[in-house]
């Protein structure tokens, strides 16, 4: 059910305009079967708009999008049977119980919980003890598991998840990604969006997206290899002063806080930073540490934004 290139999702020249705002500015990408594909970018980048078009909830202004060779405009009804969608805001019925929600979604798609239970079993067993509880009374992590179960209950080929881990603590995020990776291994193609840059590393391929445009699209490793600059981590005992001093140093290209260190890049011709630590010491800094490091996805994202 994929096209000649083996793509299960293909998007060409996709544009979406709301009044005067161009939310998506003519993007192209494709996803192959069994991929775990990430749309990585901040709020307002256009991630939700793209997903709403792919899930046939909204028409594009221009361009085309196909899912399994079905067009999102002309074949929207057929497409819906192949897709599971977990929107960003909790989409379940708060005043129905856990079990009632799941039954509801199964019935809408003309199936039963029993028929596809094996697919959701790993996830659903964790909330099954609470199956008579109203969905509105569940904790954030449990709501998320229920929403995922409901998105999967009709056994879709493609799962689309819009920021499933936003506002979720680090433990629940990790558990959620483990669930996604297991679903991918079961042969489900997954498109997921996130504003957390570190989650890019868990995807097979990612699109880095900002202001309605894709800045880069590749495997996380390739994106890092293409960073194209030397990068250093530097710290001193007075990190606030260090930021001020480096920002006014005309050899320095960028200075960004990164945990307990600052990440810095330099302008062309200043690649040798051996003299920097002694200079900073002379300026009154103490505890200066500097080392060259490999970029991470967030460094790459910021470099592409410049």
């Amino acid at each position: 059910m994929s096209n000649a290139q083996g793509h299960i999702v293909s998007v060409k020249g996709l544009k979406k305009t709301y009044d005067s705002v161009e939310a998506v500015k003519g993007i192209d990408f494709s996803v192959s079967k069994d991929e775990l594909f990430g749309l990585i970018g901040p709020d307002g980048a256009g991630k939700t708009t793209i997903f709403r078009i792919l899930t046939t909830l909204m028409f594009p202004t221009e361009g085309s999008a196909n899912i399994m060779d079905l067009n999102v405009v002309s074949d929207y009804k057929k497409i819906r049977n192949h897709l599971g969608y977990m929107p960003q805001r909790f989409s379940l019925y708060q005043d129905l119980t856990v079990e009632e929600n799941l039954e509801f979604f199964a019935r809408i798609f003309g199936t039963t919980i029993e028929e596809n239970y094996s697919l959701i079993k790993d996830i659903y067993v964790q909330i099954e003890p609470f199956k008579t509880r109203k969905a509105g009374k569940l904790s954030g992590g449990m709501k998320q598991k229920l929403a995922l179960s409901c998105a999967l209950i009709h056994s879709p080929e493609i799962l689309i998840l819009d920021e499933p881990t936003t506002g979720v603590d680090a433990v629940s995020r990790k558990e959620f990604w483990e669930m996604l990776i297991r679903l991918k291994e079961k042969g489900i193609t997954i498109l997921v969006s996130t504003p957390y840059m570190d989650e890019a590393n868990l995807c097979g391929r990612v699109a880095l997206i900002q202001n309605g445009e894709i800045m880069s699209i590749d495997t996380p490793q390739k994106i890092i290899e293409n960073f194209g600059r030397k990068l250093w981590a530097i710290k001193s005992d007075n990190i606030y002063q260090l930021i001020q001093d480096l920002k006014t140093d005309n050899r320095i290209h960028t200075v960004f806080p990164f945990g307990e260190y600052l990440h810095i890049t330099v302008k062309p011709g200043y690649d040798d930073l051996k003299g920097l630590a002694p200079e900073l010491n002379r300026m009154g800094h103490s505890g200066v540490k500097i080392q060259e490091i490999e970029a991470n996805i967030e460094d790459c994202f910021m470099e592409l934004m410049q």
Partner: protein, 243 residues
């Protein structure tokens, strides 16, 4: 950052119960003046409950809590006057302009018109937002809103500012601009009490506490915590505590 020995927040054996449920189970910690203090924990660990008590919005069940020199049982209004608060969910009025929002908050804190006027001018210059002073908040990008929200939260020069997940969803460059504003506030002596789900941001903090199921399970500098829990980064520390 100012190294201070003066405690601006003192919490001893703080307990908060809702019926049988113990949301805060004997919390004890101090925060120093000018410190950037990270307050972390899983969803439902009891962070919001504690912040509500520290900001004078709710009473403890038992324990001693002193904020900015005031007792949270007896001097709640004084506590409120001496703190600022900003959350990702609510901070500015979308249908008011930038200038109107500043004016509104200044008025709420009882600042004089003259003071509000002067400080608004210097703030607009500092934020480089003079051109948009009469724009509605709703028309601005998220990152700008958050910078304005933070500036408004410290407009009345509070001793402490509480930031509840201030940077969610913001692009990485804006997130860093935001942290530079936090460093600056701390440099000027304002204590910053911040919650976040970005574990790398925990490493920006001077000290961090990590809550799990109502109790503080980790408390120290990021370097100390990484050593104590034998972890490479704060993400690992968090997972070891909360999993």
């Amino acid at each position: 950052m100012i190294k201070s020995t003066e405690n601006i927040i003192e919490v001893k054996d703080l307990v908060k119960k809702f019926g049988d449920f113990v949301a805060n189970d004997h919390l004890t910690f101090e925060v120093k003046k000018g410190e950037i203090f990270g307050f972390l924990g899983a969803n439902g660990a009891g962070k919001t409950t504690a912040i509500k008590i520290l900001s004078g919005l709710s009473y403890p069940t038992s324990g001693e809590v002193n904020v900015a020199g005031y007792d949270v049982y007896k001097e709640r209004e004084k506590v409120k006057k001496n703190i600022g608060y900003m959350s990702q969910k609510f901070s500015l009025y979308e249908d008011l302009t930038v200038k109107e929002n500043i004016r509104f908050y200044g008025g709420i804190y009882g600042l004089s018109n003259k003071y509000i006027k002067e400080k608004t001018e210097s703030l607009l210059d500092r934020l480089k937002m003079r051109d948009i002073q009469n724009s509605l908040i709703s028309s601005l990008p998220l990152g700008w809103k958050q910078k304005i929200a933070f500036s408004v939260a410290i407009f009345h020069s509070p001793k402490i500012v509480f930031l509840d997940e201030p940077t969610g969803g913001v692009d990485p460059i804006t997130r860093r601009d935001f942290w530079e504003m936090i460093y600056e506030a701390s440099h000027e002596g304002i204590t910053v009490f911040v919650t976040t789900h970005y574990m790398d941001e925990a490493e920006y903090c001077g000290r961090v506490s990590i809550m799990d199921r109502g109790s503080i399970e980790g408390l120290g500098t990021p370097v100390e915590l990484k050593g104590q829990f034998n972890a490479q980064n704060m993400d690992e520390v968090f997972l070891k505590i909360a999993r």
